[in-house]
């Protein structure tokens, strides 16, 4: 089961976050910072799956943007890995350039809408 989806930039700022389990607002910032620190410190030739506390993180880097998905142990990590790529391809088709997601403005709402579609694979 997917627990959350995060999109962060290299500096660690959250660009998009979506939680599929209720998490308190105060805990969210700490969780995001911790997760991001975990992923940003990994080198290029390292595995994309990280064991973090009691769940796993699957992360993928696209230029300056990191997409991190937190999943439970029962999930197929490779399929989530492919799902992230699928998601990025969809965004790419819709907004025409994923890297410029940093400058997504009004279409931020559409982004959230696309995140909703991830519930299909929850």
């Amino acid at each position: 089961m997917i627990k959350f989806v995060l999109m962060v930039n290299r500096q660690g700022q959250t660009r998009l976050s979506r939680y599929y389990h209720p998490v308190e607002l105060s805990r969210r910032a700490a969780l995001e910072a911790d997760v991001v620190r975990c992923c940003l410190s990994r080198k290029k030739d390292q595995c994309s799956f990280v064991e973090y506390k009691d769940f796993k993180l699957v992360y993928r880097q696209y230029a300056a943007l990191y997409i991190v998905v937190g999943i439970t142990d029962s999930e197929n990590e490779l399929s989530i890995y492919e799902l992230v790529h699928n998601f990025v391809e969809v965004l790419d088709k819709y907004f025409s350039r994923v890297v410029s997601l940093n400058r997504v403005k009004n279409s931020w709402i559409q982004c959230q809408g696309v995140c909703r579609s991830l519930k299909h694979l929850k």
């Binding site: 959250t14 998009l16 976050s17 209720p22 607002l25 969210r28 910032a29 995001e32 030739d45 390292q46 595995c47 994309s48 799956f49 990280v50 064991e51 197929n76 990590e77 490779l78 399929s79 890995y81 492919e82 799902l83 699928n86 403005k105 009004n106 931020w108 709402i109 959230q112 809408g113 909703r116 519930k119 299909h120 694979l121 929850k122």
Partner: protein, 759 residues
């Protein structure tokens, strides 16, 4: 009031803030504006304001004042406002908020709306944050929508049903028939939703499944190429993965279902293209399913082989997941996994830390009696290069494996020594006593072990466990070391000075912990009986520590010093000091870090002596020959047996130290009582081999007279143990009573040492 800025302006302003403080300032200003505008009844830019608020919320700032606005906007007839309202509801509202109840009615109305997008908004929101009450209220509506004609709606309704089933499990029966109908759909989106729903239903209630389901799954998976859902050449891998997971649940403890699935799984396993990651994802799910159901052995072998192929893949992710799966089955399918042992061991050298960790766990699980030597070689080379966080796990794994499967004692000791030299700082505390126990038990390897340890100690004194064991060994078997010959290693001439140099270095090094210093000091002391020339050097080393700050060391040093002073003469003539300590003494000696247990108290022969002393032997009724020179009349007391027993009553066996003290102090005449002018001296001489005469002389040096002087003496009956090479000790108790200047005086004196008694 500042005019409301559009969303993108606000985002730009927030992003351009250089510090956290600046960002907070911008956001607070915006929130104030938004709040003010919410209070206004009619406002054109309501949706924009709410959108801005949602963005601020996502960054982590509180936005609870927007909840009522969400509720209002959901009720609005305009689609754009509804959309943002529902989005806000999903993000800001959850079960715990009271406002969530208010939207139940709106959702109900919207579910019946003619516009499918409005319906879908309502469905999404319910699926996201619906509480148990809301779910119960709206479940019949959802069920109706599951049978709707519109596949877009059906898809969303299926997901909503999944959420409802998760929240309220009883409602599962309500959805079961509709769910089964959904399976015949062509639309993959609906199918996917249906499969998820059925998976959820099966997890709650396994009896609600039928074999027909499996046959249907079979058709679906093998069905032809569908260009709409193609991902890198595989048709709808996400759906395939879902179906496989459903099959796993169906077949989990079900023989019949597993049988029906065998062909299907074999087909998927062989036909899926494994050159792309997507294909590997499907294969991975297949392998997980095969391993989880009651599959036939051929299929299991196929699955393990797929995992073996994964291990050789270049992609690190795939190697990692292969090892996770192998870890799960190494208990049950041990032989199948053993075949891939070579690849697993190679992965120990991988760059990635996660892969290394997995490879380590698998390697430790694969160690068996047949491959112990080769595996240990690999593990030891891994230990020297592994990352620090894995070291202690590796070390303890190696110890456990060595203990279980060691082919020979020497190999075992070698392995442990190797680990101590490479990763000595990371081993657990009980390693030291365990190793000492092991060394003691292999008596034929003492010479080899002590030579090896000496060499290791000579090279490096920083690894504490190694230093402790080495010190202990040198203390115990130092004579073997000094003898210089050893069958199993090339002989090296070690002089007494070398050994003492090493021990002194350990004692003085900054790196040595207090317990290590204790070991070294004790070893130095033990060596004093085993070496001949440098006793003075040892004495000086030991006496330095008599004033050490560490209390433990100081106590030891002082006691050892005492041994030096008083028992020097017995050092070479007595054998028992040179005897080996018993093992159980060593373990208590080693484990107890505080308090010095007298190093001799574990001795069995000495224990016998204790028994003798404390035994209830009736005392000898000896009438001492009193050569009295006192001018006073001496009356021999009627010594009843009882009195003498009383005398001896308190004669408990004290610590053996006192016994030794008693044995070995030598003086020709000793004064046993000297008080108030009355003195009693004692001298003994050997009359014959079995007889001893003791002379007690009493004298009065006061001016006044002494009347009624009585002397009673009692000695315990002792027998000499033949293993002792010295004469037995004797104890005597004297009771002296007299009257002087009108007052009666009575005193009891114990005589521990007898003059003239040598050895």
């Amino acid at each position: 009031m500042s005019p409301s800025v559009p969303l993108q302006e606000m985002i730009r302003a927030i992003r351009s803030a250089r510090t956290q403080c600046e960002e907070r300032g911008v956001i607070q200003r915006e929130c104030a504006t938004i709040r003010a505008q919410f209070r206004q009844a009619d406002n054109e830019g309501r949706s924009h304001n709410l959108a801005k608020l949602l963005y601020v919320h996502m960054l982590g700032y509180p936005a609870h004042f927007g909840q009522m606005e969400c509720v209002r906007m959901i009720a609005s007839p305009r689609y754009s406002e509804k959309r943002v309202g529902y989005l806000g509801a999903m993000m800001l509202l959850d079960e715990k908020q009271d406002a969530s109840l208010l939207i139940t009615n709106s959702i109900k109305n919207d579910l019946a709306n003619s516009n499918q997008y409005v319906q879908s908004l309502a469905l999404c929101t319910l699926a996201c944050m619906g509480s148990a009450e809301m779910c119960r209220d709206l479940a019949p509506e959802i069920n109706r929508l599951l049978r709707a004609s519109n596949s877009y709606i059906k898809k969303k309704a299926a997901l909503c049903a999944v959420h409802i089933v998760r929240k309220v499990q009883d409602l599962g029966e309500l959805f079961a028939p509709s769910a089964r109908c959904l399976l015949t759909e062509k639309n993959h989106g609906v199918l996917h939703g249906a499969v998820v729903l059925i998976t959820e239903l099966c997890e709650c209630n396994p009896e609600s499944l039928e074999l027909v389901l499996i046959r249907w799954c079979q058709c679906l998976v093998i069905s032809g190429y569908s260009p709409d859902h193609d991902v890198a050449g595989i048709s709808d891998p996400f759906l395939q993965v879902r179906i496989l997971r459903l099959l796993r649940i169906l077949g989990h403890n079900n023989e019949a279902a597993s049988d029906a699935m065998n062909d299907l799984l074999a087909q998927v396993a062989t036909n899926t293209d494994s050159t792309k990651t997507v294909g590997n994802a499907v294969l991975y799910e297949t392998v997980l399913t095969v391993l989880d159901i009651k599959s036939e052995s051929g299929l299991r072998v196929l699955a393990v082989n797929i995992l073996g192929r994964f291990l050789l893949n270049n992609d690190r992710n795939i190697r990692y997941i292969a090892m996770i799966s192998l870890q799960k089955i190494v208990g049950t399918d041990h032989n199948a996994v053993q075949r891939h042992r070579g690849t697993i061991v190679d992965c120990l050298k991988d760059q990635d830390a996660s892969v290394k960790r997995r490879a380590l766990e698998l390697s430790l699980a694969l160690v068996s009696a047949s491959n112990i030597r080769s595996m240990m070689k690999e593990l030891l080379s891994f230990l020297s290069s592994c990352p620090p966080e894995l070291r202690s796990q590796t070390a303890s794994g190696i110890f456990i494996a060595a203990e279980r499967y060691a082919p020979s004692q020497r190999w075992h000791i070698d392995t442990i020594l190797h680990v101590l030299t490479t990763a000595g700082g990371d081993v657990r505390d009980e390693t030291v006593p365990n190793l000492i126990q092991l060394i003691t038990n292999t008596s034929e390897l003492h010479c080899y072990t002590v030579h090896k340890l000496y060499r290791a100690l000579h090279n490096d004194i920083s690894q504490q466990p190694l230093v402790q064991v080495a010190c202990w060994c040198i203390g115990e078997y130092g004579d073997l070391l000094l003898r210089g010959e050893c069958q199993e290693m090339e002989p090296v001439q070690v002089t007494e000075d070398d050994v003492l140099d090493v021990l002194e270095a350990v004692l003085q090094s900054h790196m040595s912990s207090p317990s290590t210093r204790g070991f070294a000091l004790t070893a130095t002391m033990k060596l004093s009986t085993r070496i001949t020339e440098n006793v003075d050097r040892i004495r000086s080393i030991v006496s330095i520590y008599g004033s050490c700050i560490d209390v433990e060391l100081q106590q030891r040093a002082v006691e050892y010093n005492a041994l030096f002073k008083k028992y020097d003469h017995m050092r070479y003539s007595t054998e028992w000091l040179g005897q080996r300590f018993l093992v159980f003494v060593c373990s208590t000696f080693v484990v107890q870090s505080a308090g010095l247990s007298p190093p001799i108290c574990g001795f069995p022969q000495v224990c016998d002596l204790l028994d003798l002393l404390g035994g209830s032997e009736p005392p000898l009724q000896s009438s001492p020959a009193l050569g009295s020179t006192a001018p006073l009349p001496v009356g021999t007391a009627g010594t009843a047996g009882g009195d003498l027993l009383d005398l001896l009553g308190g004669l408990e066996p004290t610590a053996i130290m006192t016994v030794l003290l008693s044995v070995f102090s030598v003086a020709p005449t000793v004064s046993v009582y000297d008080k108030d002018g009355v003195t009693v001296t004692l001298s003994c001489e050997k009359q014959s081999d079995s007889g001893l005469s003791i002379t007690l002389t009493a004298s009065n040096s006061t001016d006044s007279d002494i009347r009624g002087f009585t002397l009673q003496a009692a000695v315990p009956k002792v027998c000499i143990s033949s293993s002792f090479s010295f004469q037995v000790n004797l104890k005597m108790r004297l009771r002296i009573s007299y009257t002087s200047q009108g007052s009666a005086v009575q005193d009891t004196v114990q005589v521990d040492s007898f003059p003239g008694l040598g050895h």
